[in-house]
């Protein structure tokens, strides 16, 4: 399928290139800053590539190859962050044999910066998740699960900030409602909190207190549901004010391109998800300069 190229606000883009040039002459530090965000979701223990004769994903995926791609991108742009939107566990015998140990070890070797928690990450119970935490050299970000009365207490953070080439990135995580989806015996006393409310609180904190230049949400809520009572990423994008990018999961949604959503501040933001099983890697590049968005808004090419 041929990808259609969308170039929005081309006038704004060319104006900014000019402005960037001016700053370059003035400062030795470079005109533009460039941050790359890479992401996966719902990898479901898919460590090996699919066989060439696979019905759905012939010859695709494979963790060692993902590592190669990530490495190449990092060489091109050291200001790269790598995230996962949950459901790391369950789907191949690797999980049944090793309980998620291999998944976490490999993600650590790929130098993932953070992940959020999906419903299947409770498949060996909350104790099973805790047991694998020592193998994860990356952060688990989830703002709307209260683990206070569980063994996972203290193992996760609601958000984390990263500074890349002077750009401060705030990242928070959101999980799906577990009741009705996961046996309570598995998630135990994990308390689920309203994601929209939490998202607005956290993004305000990241914007106003932490002074982040960019705000990213790792969500395992799902891309979109017809049932209005279910929370989803498209609605989150509309309801939030400062979140620039929502990296989604859960619904195994393959998108032709990231979705542009108009947020509560009438600004265009992105919602993305890259299917499942590690067959794709999402890549979003953010370019910053001194002038920033014009009255025409930030230009988005997807």
């Amino acid at each position: 399928m041929k990808r259609r190229q969308f170039i929005k606000n081309t006038v704004a883009t060319s104006t900014l290139i000019g402005a960037g040039g001016l700053t370059l002459n003035a400062c030795s530090s470079g005109s533009e800053k460039h941050l790359t965000i890479l992401h996966t979701n719902d990898v479901h223990s898919h460590i090996d590539a699919f066989p060439k004769d696979h019905a759905d994903f012939p010859g695709l995926g494979g963790l060692a190859r993902r590592a190669g791609l990530v490495q190449k991108i990092r060489e091109e742009n050291p200001n790269t962050l790598l995230f996962d939107a949950g459901d790391i566990f369950q789907g191949t015998p690797y999980f049944n044999f090793y309980g998620g140990e291999l998944e976490f070890k490999l993600m650590s070797k790929l130098k993932y910066d953070a992940a959020t928690i999906g419903n299947h990450d409770f498949d060996n119970g909350i104790d099973g998740l805790l047991a694998q935490m020592p193998h994860a050299q990356f952060d688990f970000l989830i703002a709307n699960y209260d683990f206070t009365n569980t063994v996972m207490d203290g193992q996760t953070k609601p958000y984390k900030t990263y500074i890349k080439d002077g750009i401060k990135v705030g990242v928070y995580g959101l999980g799906i409602q577990l009741a009705g989806l996961v046996t309570q015996k598995l998630y135990k006393e994990t308390e689920y909190l309203d994601p929209y409310e939490i998202a607005r609180d956290i993004e305000t904190q990241l914007k106003e207190t932490e002074n982040c230049d960019l705000i990213v949400c790792l969500s395992h809520m799902g891309y979109s549901y017809e049932n209005e009572n279910r929370t989803d990423d498209l609605t989150l994008g509309k309801k939030t004010k400062h979140t620039d990018l929502i990296i989604g999961g859960h619904t195994h949604t393959f998108l032709e391109r990231p979705t542009i959503v108009t947020n509560a501040n009438d600004r265009e933001v992105l919602v993305n998800q890259v299917g499942c099983f590690g067959v794709n890697l999402g890549r979003i590049d953010f370019y910053f300069d001194a002038n920033g968005a014009t009255s025409n808004g930030v230009s988005i090419s997807v």
Binding site: G20, S29, L69, K105, Y287, S301
Partner: protein, 261 residues
């Protein structure tokens, strides 16, 4: 003219001052405003060079999993499928019989009670078993899900409702411990549970999948469960344990559930 020249000079001075301030500001406040975003999806295929050290790291895990999965546990003396009968099938009977045999002793130990029968769902059997060697991989193929075996206590009327569901679904949902014979018009000719005629006044213990108890496949009668006991035994593990225990799998389409011609 002199005046004008002076004026020009001032203008230049102002401009220099202005530019200096602007540049100074730009340098101090390094470029930080979002101007442009691009987004794309990168396919992970053979064009991505695999990292050799990671391949080497994965290899022993991979080999161990493959060896265990492929080691022969039993032998299938025929192709076992879920489509070789109208009311009961070889694959369905094998699955239901495995659960009855494997779950009953655990349930008895846990609760002191006897398991009466098993009901699974036809759709839950995800693969046939080909004649030949049977391994743990076979169990993963037939049952890729993590469903647990649960034992549900149902009242007599709920069991009746269950039978109605079974009959009207017109599908060979796997059963064990039951003998159900239908008349030509789909009415019940006879129903026995554990060899005894069905008794509407007693409760029964039925082993099934936690997926079905939570409403899967519209098995709504499970909502009236009097008690649900999760025996912490994955259906797939029950299969693997059974395969390890027996030498040969030779399930048959039999008379546990059929309709009179």
């Amino acid at each position: 003219m002199t005046k004008l020249k002076h004026f020009d000079c001032l203008k230049i001075k102002h401009f220099v001052v202005f530019i200096t301030i602007v540049m100074g500001y730009s340098c101090k406040e390094a470029p930080k405003k979002l101007s442009h975003i691009t987004g794309k999806e990168l396919k992970i295929d053979s064009t991505s060079q695999a990292v050799n050290s990671l391949e080497q790291f994965i290899l022993p895990y991979h080999n161990h999993v493959e060896n265990v999965l492929d080691s022969t546990l039993a032998y299938a003396s025929l192709d076992i499928t879920k489509t070789d009968g109208s009311y009961n099938t070889t694959a369905g009977n094998l699955m239901a019989d495995i659960i009855l045999e494997q779950a009953a002793p655990i349930f008895k130990r846990r609760t002191g009670k006897n398991l009466d029968f098993v009901l699974l769902n036809h759709g839950g059997i995800r693969s046939s078993i080909s004649k030949g060697n049977v391994s743990a991989r076979t169990a993963f193929e037939v049952m890729p899900f993590e469903n647990n075996t649960v034992v549900v206590e149902l009242s007599g009327p709920s069991v009746k409702e269950m039978l109605t569901y079974l009959i009207t679904s017109k599908r060979a949902h796997p059963v064990a411990g039951i003998e159900l014979v239908l008349n030509k018009d789909d009415s019940i000719k006879s129903i026995k549970i554990q060899g005894q005629p069905f008794d509407a006044n007693r409760n029964y213990y039925v082993a099934t999948s936690d997926y079905l108890v939570s409403g899967g496949d519209d098995m709504v009668f499970f909502k009236d469960a009097l008690e649900v006991t999760d025996i912490d035994y994955k259906i797939r593990n029950a299969m693997i344990d059974y395969f390890s225990k027996v030498d040969t799998l030779s399930p048959k389409v039999d008379l546990r559930y059929y309709k009179l011609d």
